[in-house]
Amino acid sequence: MQITLQNLTKVFPKRGKKETGDVIAVNDFTFVIPDGKLIGLLGPSGCGKSTTLNLISGLEKPTRGKIYFGEDDVTGLPPESRGVGLVFQNYALYPHLTVLQNILFPLQNLKGAERPTKEQMIQRAEEAAKLVQIEQLMERRPSELSGGQQQRVAIARALVKLPRVLLLDEPLSNLDARLRLQTREEIRRIQRETGITTIFVTHDQEEAMSISDMIVVMKEGVVHQIGAPQDVYDEPKNLFVAQFLGTPPIHVFDGSVRAGSLYLGGTPVLDVPGVADQEVYAAVRPEGFVLNADGPLCCQLSRVEIMGRDTSVVCSHECCTSGTIRAIIPAENRVDQTLPTVRFSLKPNKVFLFDRSTQERIAVSNA
C-alpha cells in the first residue's frame, strides 16, 4: 500500500494563558511512501514525528492536508475504518487478557462477511504468533512477559488483522541495549516477510538508519530531509541533518572560504572549488580525519581511546564549536602520544560546508 501525505499540517491550539501561540506539530508534510517499504521517522523529541504517526493512524485529525492509502482518501476516516496496525510505545497490551486473547482481540471486532470463524481466528492468531516467535507464550498474561516478548505480542496483535499499514511508535525505546539490536533485526525481518508498508518513529538515528529503506528527518514539525539512510548521511541538506545523524556526532568548525580553499583559523585545510568567498560552518564526520604527519589541520591532542577495531583520537581545535573533537581512525594507525599535537588531513567527501545564516548546504563542485 502506497501512502501519500499531501501538505499534511497539524496545529494544536494553545492551552491556557501561559502558552504564547499555537503549536505547529507537523508543518506542510508532503511525502509519498512507496509500497512495501520500511520508513523511519526520525527527529529529536517534540519534532512532530509521533503526531505524524497519529495522523496516519487517524487518532489525530489533520488541520490541513490529505492522506491517501493507495488511491483512497482516508483523511476524514476514523481510525477504525483505516485498517492500520499500531504498536504503541508502551505496547498497550490489555493486562487482563492472555497473549492469545490479546492477539485475537482485533479479529473479534470484525463484523459480517469479514468475520472469520473461531477456528480461523485461532489459526490466524497462531500464524501471527509464529511470525514473531511467541507461539509458546500464548496462555501467559502480559505481566508475565519480558519487555521484548511484550513487544512481539504487540506486533502480533497489530499484524493479525492484516493491516494495510503497520505503524510503530518508538518500538525499541523500552528495551535494553542488547534486546534493541535484536528486536530491530526482528522488525526488519517481519516487515520483509509480510511486505506491509511500515512506518516507525524513533529518536535514535542509529536505529532508524540501520533498518529503514528510507528515513525522514524532522525537526519542530518541519521535514528537513527524506532519503535512503546512506544518502542522507552522505549528503545532508543542512546543518541540522548533518548534526543529527552519526555517532559520534559530526564536528562543526567556524571556517571561511577564500579563493577556493577552506580556512580553519587562518590555515587552509581543504580545497573547495566552486565556492564563493564567505564565512561558513565546516562540518567534518569523525571518520573524515586522516592521520597525516604533514596534514594541514593541527589539533591539540588530549588522549587516544583504543576500541579495538578502530581508535578514537580525542583532541581540540580553536575553531571547533563543540569542545572536543573525536576523530575515528583505523586501528592500524598509531598516534604518537608523546607529542602535544596531532595533524590530520581531511577526506573531501566527509566535509560539508553550510551557510552561516541559513545553515543550508553549500555545494562543492569537486565531487
Partner: protein, 297 residues
C-alpha cells in the same frame, strides 16, 4: 534467638491490646450474652444457658420483618446505586467542560448530614395536614393517584427507604469510580479504536475489567453498609420503626437494648450475631465470585 522471638510481639503489643479490648473481648462477650438466657445487665444474673435467645429472635415477627426489610434494602440499593454511579461516572468522564462543577454537585450529598437529608425527603414524600408532599403533587399533576409514602403501603415505604439510601451512598461511589475511570490509560482506548472495537465491547472488555477492583470494593462495602443500615430508616420513619414496619436488623438490635421495649441484651446479642453471620456469608460469596471476575494488576 530468645530475643528474636519476643521482640516482634512487643512491637505488636499496642495493636493487639487495642484490638483485644475493643474487638475480641466485646465479640466474645456478645457470644456469651447470646447464649445466656434472661441475662440481666444490672444484676449480672441469668437463669440458663442455651440457644433459647436465638430461637426467640428467629421467631420474633419484628425481627423477621427487620430481616426482610434489610434484605430488600440490600438487594435493591447495592446494584442500583452501583449501576447508576457507574453510569454517572462514565458520563462525567466523557465530558470536558464543567466536569469539576458536576463532580462537586454529585459529591454534595456525601457531606450532608443524614438527618438533614431525611428532613428533605420528608418534605418530598410526607403527607401532612397542609400538603401531600412534592412527589404526590407531581404524581397528581400527571394524573396519577397520590400515595402516602411515609405511613402508607409497604412497597411505598420500601421505595422511599431505597431511594433515600441510593441517594446517600451514591456520591462516594461516583467519586471512587470517576477516579478509577480516569486511571485507565488512554493508550488502551486508542489501541482498541485502531482495532475497530465497538463501543460496547470497549466498555465490557476493557473498561469494566480495568475498574473491576474498584467496583468489587464498592459492592462489598455496599453490601456491608446496607446490612448495617439503621439511621436512614430513623431519619425517614422516626424512632419507632417496629410500629412503622420499617425496622432493620441493626435497628432491632438497638431497640432490644435501649428502645421502649428494650432491656434485653441477650436477644440483642443473638440478633447481632445472626447479622454477623449473614454479612460474613455474603462477603465470602462476594470474594469467591470476585476470584473469577476481578482483575488485579
Amino acid at each position: 534467638m530468645e530475643q528474636k522471638d519476643f521482640k516482634p510481639w512487643l512491637y505488636l503489643l499496642p495493636a493487639l491490646l487495642f484490638l483485644g479490648f475493643f474487638m475480641v473481648y466485646p465479640l466474645v462477650d456478645v457470644l456469651v450474652y447470646s447464649l445466656e438466657e434472661g441475662y440481666n445487665s444490672a444484676s449480672q444474673t441469668f437463669f440458663g444457658v442455651g440457644l433459647y435467645n436465638y430461637s426467640y429472635v428467629l421467631h420474633d415477627p419484628y425481627f423477621l420483618q427487620a430481616v426482610k426489610n434489610t434484605f430488600l434494602l440490600v438487594i435493591i440499593t447495592v446494584p442500583v446505586s452501583t449501576g447508576i454511579a457507574l453510569l454517572i461516572s462514565l458520563g462525567l468522564n466523557a465530558i470536558k467542560p464543567l466536569r469539576n462543577l458536576y463532580q462537586t454537585v454529585f459529591f454534595l450529598p456525601y457531606v450532608t448530614n443524614t438527618l438533614a437529608v431525611g428532613l428533605v425527603f420528608m418534605i418530598l414524600f410526607k403527607k401532612t395536614a397542609y400538603s401531600d408532599g412534592l412527589v404526590n403533587l407531581l404524581i397528581r399533576w400527571f394524573g396519577g393517584e397520590g400515595v402516602d409514602f411515609i405511613d402508607g403501603p409497604y412497597w411505598a415505604k420500601i421505595f422511599v427507604l431505597c431511594f433515600y439510601t441510593v441517594w446517600v451512598v451514591m456520591p462516594f461511589k461516583i467519586l471512587i469510580l470517576t477516579s478509577a475511570l480516569t486511571s485507565v490509560k488512554q493508550d488502551y482506548y486508542n489501541a482498541a479504536r485502531v482495532d475497530a472495537t465497538p463501543r460496547w465491547r470497549i466498555f465490557t472488555r476493557i473498561t469494566l475489567p480495568m475498574i473491576s477492583p474498584m467496583l468489587f470494593y464498592l459492592v462489598v462495602t455496599g453490601f456491608i453498609g446496607a446490612f448495617k443500615a439503621y439511621s436512614d430508616a430513623v431519619a425517614l420513619f422516626g424512632t419507632d420503626l417496629n410500629a412503622a414496619g420499617m425496622n432493620t436488623i441493626v435497628g432491632y438490635v438497638y431497640d432490644m437494648l435501649y428502645g421502649d421495649s428494650g432491656g434485653y441484651p441477650s436477644y440483642a446479642a443473638a440478633a447481632a450475631l445472626i447479622l454477623f453471620a449473614i454479612v460474613l456469608t455474603i462477603t465470602c460469596i462476594n470474594l469467591l465470585v470476585s476470584r473469577r471476575h476481578v482483575y488485579y494488576d
